[in-house]
């Protein structure tokens, strides 16, 4: 494996801020992060916007319009901070390219043009998209499935930090990726900044866990944390997005943007470091097997924690691949009952729907306000007894490969207005195509990755 050149400022800490935790997150988080990075003398801005489903949805958009298929809120995210980033050499590294990094790059060129900024140097990372017929054939065989390749919506490998680091070393202002793994968005800049070797597993582990702490945005800085009266978080309406200070030895600190709400302490840090982790000795990414069994989180000051004790082991030999495919329709319909015997009326309404169409498809019945999300699809929890409730929303959900069958749920719940129990109101229905995911791992050689600088295309 090659070692990237060490930049002159290698011993300075690297500051990486993250201004979104998913596609659909607040779009106004980046301003305070960028201002804080400027005050610190520079750094890198991440936007993490990809989930398992997000990429498949983006692929659907790309099929409809070859100029789409990137993060739909891209302009809202980048527009307000692009000038400041270019003026202060704050590089943007993001997976908001989704299914179409090239088109995302063109959109950013257009924003720069509209704002009369200099033309940014934009690199796109390629290789994650495995949608070519030959690749799909290989993947479906590997998955051992007989689904029709025509039903496949997206197939992407999770790729790592190396190409991001190379692009930054090559002078990119902005690096746009598709399915790069979330923590690689932070590790890549650290590799470029410190010149870490790709097989320095300890450093790869440290940079990866710094990225892990950032990748869900405010989930480390007071978001997804507050329980009133128990775990208070100030200023949740203007919660600050997080910034990591990564040092040459791999230790790092997490704090949040200046002049924002939110909270960073040992408890918010501990909740996030374990988020979506299975075996803490084996947190797998394309770059490393990170190990947090000896990790330690301490408060260094107000809204600032230090993370130490991260270890790293050799990276997995293969890359993870997700294949998303069309799998019928999800139908959901709701109606509310309130007042005396509301719960009993909602139960009767659900039973009525079940008697009429339960033989056509499996139905899930929720009594929102009594028992809903705690229950399993089989309704076992509900069978153990229902709490009293006087304001209950019946929800009926089901999936079917045949749209006309799935639609019957919508019809049956709507008809409860007249044919159902007394006092039902507020029917809402939705019918959505359903996507399923299959996962496997494949040899790295099957995923040739790289990066290239994009030329601006004038319309």
């Amino acid at each position: 494996m090659s070692t990237l050149s060490t930049s002159q400022s290698a011993q300075r800490p690297l500051y990486v801020g993250c201004a979104t935790g998913f596609s659909g997150d607040r779009t106004d988080g980046a301003g305070p992060v960028v201002d804080t990075l400027i005050a610190l003398g520079g750094g890198v801005l991440n936007f993490e916007t990809l989930g398992e489903r997000t990429l498949a949805l983006a692929q659907i958009e790309k099929r409809k319009d070859p100029n789409m298929g990137y993060e739909p809120l891209l302009a809202d995210l980048v527009g307000p901070v692009l000038k400041r980033c270019l003026d202060h050499r704050i590089q943007i590294v993001s997976n908001f390219g989704a299914a179409n990094p090239q088109a995302a790059a063109q959109r950013i060129f257009a924003i720069a043009r509209e704002q009369k900024l200099r033309t940014p140097r934009i690199a796109v990372v390629y290789g994650d998209d495995l949608n070519e017929p030959e690749q799909l054939k290989f993947l479906l065989k590997k998955l051992g499935t007989d689904i029709d390749p025509k039903r496949v919506v997206s197939a992407n490998a999770y790729i790592g930090a190396y190409e991001i680091a190379q692009a930054l070393n090559d002078g990119a202002d902005i690096v746009v990726t598709g399915r790069a793994s979330d923590p690689s968005l932070t590790l890549g800049p650290a590799i470029a900044h410190f010149g870490w070797a790709m097989d320095d597993w300890h450093k790869m582990g440290c940079g990866t866990m710094a990225g892990h702490m950032l990748e869900c945005g405010t989930q480390v800085s007071g978001g997804y944390y507050s329980v009133p009266g128990q775990k208070s978080v100030p200023g949740m309406d203007r919660i600050g997005f997080p910034i990591a200070e990564i040092r040459a030895d791999g230790t790092f600190s997490i704090f949040k943007a200046n002049d924002t709400g939110g909270l960073v302490d040992d408890r918010t840090g501990r909740e996030q470091i374990l988020y979506e982790v299975h075996d803490p000795a084996r947190y797998l990414t394309p770059d490393v097997t990170a190990d947090i069994t000896e990790a330690c989180i301490t408060e260094e000051g107000p809204n600032r924690i230090r993370v130490e004790g991260i270890q790293g082991h050799p990276r997995p030999t293969e890359l993870k691949v997700n294949v998303c495919y069309d799998n019928g329709y999800l139908a959901e319909a709701e109606i509310s009952y309130a007042g005396f015997r509301a719960r009993e009326r909602a139960v009767l309404a659900g039973e009525t729907v079940r008697k009429r169409i339960g033989h056509l498809l499996a139905l899930r019945i929720d009594l929102i306000g009594a028992i809903s999300i705690f229950g399993d699809d089989a309704g076992e929890l509900m069978g153990k007894g229902l709490p009293e409730a006087r304001d209950v929303r019946l929800r009926v959900a089901g999936v079917h490969i045949d749209k006309s069958i799935a639609e019957k749920i919508l019809r049956e719940v709507t008809s409860l207005y007249c044919c159902g129990p007394a006092g039902g109101g507020g029917v809402r229905t939705s019918l959505r195509p359903r996507l399923d995911t299959l996962s496997c791992t494949i040899p790295r050689e099957s995923v040739p990755c790289g990066y290239r600088f994009v030329e601006e295309q004038h319309a």
Partner: protein, 125 residues
């Protein structure tokens, strides 16, 4: 002799649930060292499997992280197939950490009095 009282887990710990496919992981992070030791002895894999029994986990694994005062529980097969398959409104199982937090824990009376989350000390229901 110190008498024992029963408190919900949230009096001794906080936590968060995450999902990958059909597997949920739920962290249980003790408020302090004393709570941590009590939880290590009581919140066993078997007890968690039973507490989530109605969702039929195929496997429950506990990882103990003393330096974080934390335990990480990995519950396989409890998400009705996961984010794409489940009919649950909360197909990620994000709310499941709060099911965990209601688990009853036996606590010495002396410790129960020290626990800082007074707002939650009232007996529910």
């Amino acid at each position: 002799m110190t008498s024992i009282v029963e408190l919900p887990l949230y009096q001794l710990a906080h936590g968060r649930a995450g999902d990958k496919g059909n597997t949920s992981n739920i962290s249980v992070i003790a408020w302090n060292q004393t709570c941590f030791e009590l939880l290590v002895s009581q919140v066993t894999e078997g007890k968690v499997a039973a507490w989530f029994g109605y969702r039929h986990p195929s496997k429950v694994t506990r990882y103990v992280l003393p330096k974080l005062l934390a335990m990480n529980y990995v519950l396989e097969g409890i998400l009705d197939g996961g984010v794409n398959d489940a009919l649950n409104l909360d197909s990620h199982g994000k709310g499941l950490s709060f099911w965990m937090m209601d688990m009853p824990i036996e606590v010495p009376q002396t410790l129960a009095q020290q626990l800082s989350i007074k707002e939650y000390s009232k007996k529910a229901d």
